[in-house]
Symmetry: C2
Subunit: 574 residues, 2 copies
């Protein structure tokens, strides 16, 4: 809670009444009405007066100590990214701040479960320390599923007791996405304990394709939202059951295309937008929350309902009662837009302060967690061989732009007691190598859908345990890629014909770069070109590779323990 004084309240009254100049005035604005006092999609003309970090006046004429002339442009509340893993932007939280705040994202609800899977509470503490420093409001949810499941080896475990200690931290809203829905519905005791410990508090959901009584049971545990909705029918059922649908457009999962028809005046309080996993290349090229708003309107969603979903509805869903509309008494997180339809952000004001390059320069520095987290020795080509009893095997079918996979069946080339990749049919080998120094496990399998020939990709980002994921048509190239990755302390590596052709080091926990986001963007462009040169048909091959290891997304996945049938929630044994 903010501490307020008699003088502080008096200053707000004086400035709102116009008896004293306001600290900041945005003159000649058109405030988009998100509360319904005017006809739909209408704007309210006038000045916006700000005292300290609060809006104190709209729809009237004001003078300010500092004034910005909006020249008749639009003013809307700052955007809220309702669910993301900051680590997926591949930069530090401070770089993320510098990357997305100028695009209008003033609040983010982040789940640091990537770094927590590697570093445990040290990762959580790193994000809480970052939240003290960022200009945008970085909310840190408590990662509920570290590890995500019992079907993989993570670097750390967070118990209910570990999490409850942080429940009342001012940067925390509640428990982060409860991904282990199969475990919860099977009444896994650790899952039940976490739900019980957060009764009455906020709990985020993750329920891809969940429906009927299983969805009822998940919601009955007090879970309130879902960012894993990919079809309209799924969205309608979740909405009708009171679940807030956080419409996503990440680097891979672009659910906005299917879900835009959900956005109506009536449903808008139960919607929100999120990026979940979006890399800086996509942010640079398409945008962040501004992209989601633009795309939703482009797909036919009503303007005010869309802006409401991007701000107030998200705030409401997380119990952030101080923000999300442009109205007296609310936080002065404000955007000046050239145009509502294209959502071109001309100016950003955060807590009453116009955002500029200097805003970021003034932040206190933040120490990064040290040490190489690639805790395994070099791998040999023969370690990746797949010994098997015959050619027939389940194969992971990758779908372009989706993190849900298909379970396919194929007969692979089989010789000498080993199965081999068959690049002619786009059947590549994939392996997951434990890298936390726990057991050195290697899970092996096959995947279809990448289209790569004559090369290999390796990534230390491998949701959510973040073991090394490596994929290719040649074991020697795969081993080279993995070993270069280990030398880098983590990152992305592309190998072609026995040579490393592109790479990005992610030295912080094997997840994040210590470089500026512009540098990371440039290296991603080089990686994209290199992988495209191998014939890859996916837009985001490294992100799709990283999601092959996430056994809480249907239907077939792979971890360091082997292939996982997500629907049965068990390992596949031959």
């Amino acid at each position: 809670m903010t501490v307020q004084t008699r003088a502080g309240v008096a200053a707000r009254i004086d400035q709102a009444l116009g008896d004293a100049p306001a600290d900041l005035v945005i003159r000649n604005a058109r405030v988009l009405d998100l509360t319904g006092g005017t006809p739909p999609d209408e704007t309210v003309p006038g000045d916006v007066a700000v005292c300290g970090d609060r809006i104190v006046g709209i729809a009237d004429s004001y003078r300010g100590v500092r004034e910005i002339d909006a020249g008749g442009r639009f003013v809307v509340p700052g955007f809220i990214d309702s669910h993301l893993h900051c680590e997926s932007t591949l930069v530090t939280p401070l770089e993320f701040d510098r990357c997305v705040l100028p695009r209008g994202t003033t609040t983010v609800i982040c789940d640091p479960h990537e770094i927590c899977n590697v570093l445990g509470t040290e990762g959580l503490e790193y994000f809480l320390a970052a939240a003290d420093r960022t200009i945008l409001d970085l909310r840190v949810q408590l990662s509920s599923c570290v590890p995500a499941t019992h079907l993989e080896t993570a670097g750390a475990t967070l118990t209910a007791a570990d999490l409850v200690r942080y429940r009342h931290n001012p940067h925390v809203v509640g428990l982060a996405e409860f991904m282990n829905f199969p475990g919860l519905l099977a009444k896994d005791p650790d899952c039940l304990d976490k739900i019980a410990a957060f009764e009455g508090a906020h709990i985020d959901g993750h329920a891809p394709l969940l429906s009927g009584k299983r969805l009822n049971a998940y919601l009955a545990c007090g879970i309130r939202n879902c960012h894993e909705t990919s079809s309209l029918a799924e969205g309608r059922e979740k909405l009708a059951k009171g679940m807030q649908v956080l419409i996503r457009s990440g680097s891979v999962a672009k659910d906005i295309e299917a879900l835009a028809p959900l956005i109506t005046d009536f449903a808008s309080p139960f919607l929100g937008f999120c990026t979940d996993d979006r890399n800086p290349l996509d942010i640079a090229e398409d945008g962040h929350m501004d992209y989601l708003v633009r795309r939703a309107i482009g797909l036919g969603a009503p303007v005010a309902a869309t802006y409401r979903a991007a701000s107030w509805s998200a705030a409401r869903g997380f119990g952030l009662r101080d923000r999300g509309i442009v109205a007296p008494g609310y936080l002065a997180d404000l955007l000046v837009l050239d145009d509502l339809e294209t959502c071109r952000v001309a100016r950003v004001i955060r807590r009453g302060q116009p955002v500029s390059a200097e805003s970021f320069a003034g932040r206190a520095p933040l120490a990064v967690p040290g040490g190489n987290t690639m805790r395994r020795g070099a791998v040999r080509a023969e370690d990746l061989a797949v010994r098997a009893s015959g050619p027939g095997t389940p194969v992971i079918g990758v779908l372009r732009g989706k993190i849900v996979t298909e379970r396919r069946q194929a007969d692979l080339p089989y010789s000498g007691g080993f199965r081999h990749a068959d690049p002619a049919r786009d059947l590549l080998k994939v392996a997951v190598l434990e890298r936390h120094g726990k057991n050195g496990n290697i899970g092996r399998g096959f995947v279809q859908g990448f289209g790569i020939r004559g090369g290999a990709l390796a990534s230390s980002v491998g949701h959510d345990s973040h073991n090394i994921c490596v994929l290719g048509d040649d074991d020697a190239d795969m081993a080279l890629a993995a070993n270069r990755l280990i030398d880098l302390g983590g990152g992305f590596v592309a190998v072609r014909g026995g040579e490393v052709v592109a790479e990005l080091a992610l030295s912080i926990a094997g997840l994040m770069s210590d470089q500026p986001f512009e540098t990371v963007t440039h290296k991603l462009e080089l990686l994209r070109a290199a992988v495209g040169g191998m014939g890859c048909v996916l837009d985001e091959p490294f992100v799709q590779l990283a999601f092959l290891a996430l056994p809480v997304i249907p239907h077939l996945k792979i971890t360091d323990l082997g292939l996982v049938d997500v629907d049965r929630f068990e390992l596949i044994t031959e």
Copy 2:
């Protein structure tokens, strides 16, 4: 916060999945969709399963330990009265519970400022003790303006320090209606202290006719809602400024007639319904929240938006995140309705328990605050004489069905240095007699609009200081009425031609009866008939009398200190 156990969560999952029979099932229901998963005003067929106090399943088939067959009828969430003074029902909180819960009101946000003005924190403690016992959820806001203003004498004073002690009481949401808006806008230090002490917490508003920069300043203090909106233009401005408009229909103030057009799909999250002051006769004849819903729909409001305003929107506005929709994980406060348009409540379920006469019989008893609070001696007719310098005087113009008054001017009969009533022109005398044993003040004035001839009315309910309000065309009748009132320990008295013709004792703080609501209803009928017999043209003469003393409602009022010009916020001196 509810404490939850592993077994408690497991039971919800089992019952939601249908692996165990649910504790309660409402079969063959049609759940009105308030979240927008279906087309507007549509219902979702299926059973509603309840485990303990929570809904665990909808839109599916369930079996229960206990089953209620809805026979295709509608199920909606319990109603929330978003602002009321329980004392205005003239019965104890436990009787109020028994009176309104069977009509579908499952949560009420009450401000006990009537009893607090008489008894101070003893009154607040009485309501908090009641909240431990009622079946409905009685939320007790902390009365922010005791006394309402400096222009009257109340029985007690509540300071910011007094109130902050109760801030974290589980029955408390926040600070009750901040009525003293003139004081706040004038930066009265006590007002500023209360606002500062509740920064970041919920603060209810009261802002009749406030507009423009003055409304901005009031909202800038963090005040979030208003139940004092009486015109559409006023409602639209408040909504556009983010203020939640709590549409009222009390015994006098019937704002729903003017405000129903505010109810749209888009605006509905920022609306709510309330009764403020509604007596048991009106509840018996017309209903409680069910009346507001019925009336709104009758006036053309969209059905789902109306039901949403009556439940979820109100819950949202007060941060009650556990209720307001019929969905898994939400509190099982459920109504079975015969029909949506007429809002006939067939069955009420509160926290998963069907409500019956036995529900109320099982409540723990509640001791009432003791002692006669009519702390003044008998009054003589000559004490009511109005000594004046001439015939011309401001007169309070009463408007039927409104608590806002007009300031009129009249020349009264004038003789011997005294002004007199003129019943032929409906100009009656009104007096307010201090009754808290503080100073024995008598404020005197004249009022137009009651239409009474040959009689007098007296009331110990006199908002908000609850001094004795007495009105009539004859000083002797007025004195008789006041003295009978003192003998009763408070109440309502009607005198005609020198005789008490009807009365109701309100022995608890001079505000509430210790009798069942049915008895009070009957006595109110007798009073209504008696006052009607005197020619009274108002539907609710005692309520309108009681509001003559409230100097935070424009435009002309009277307290024990004399006539108050509310617009100038000062006493009128000749």
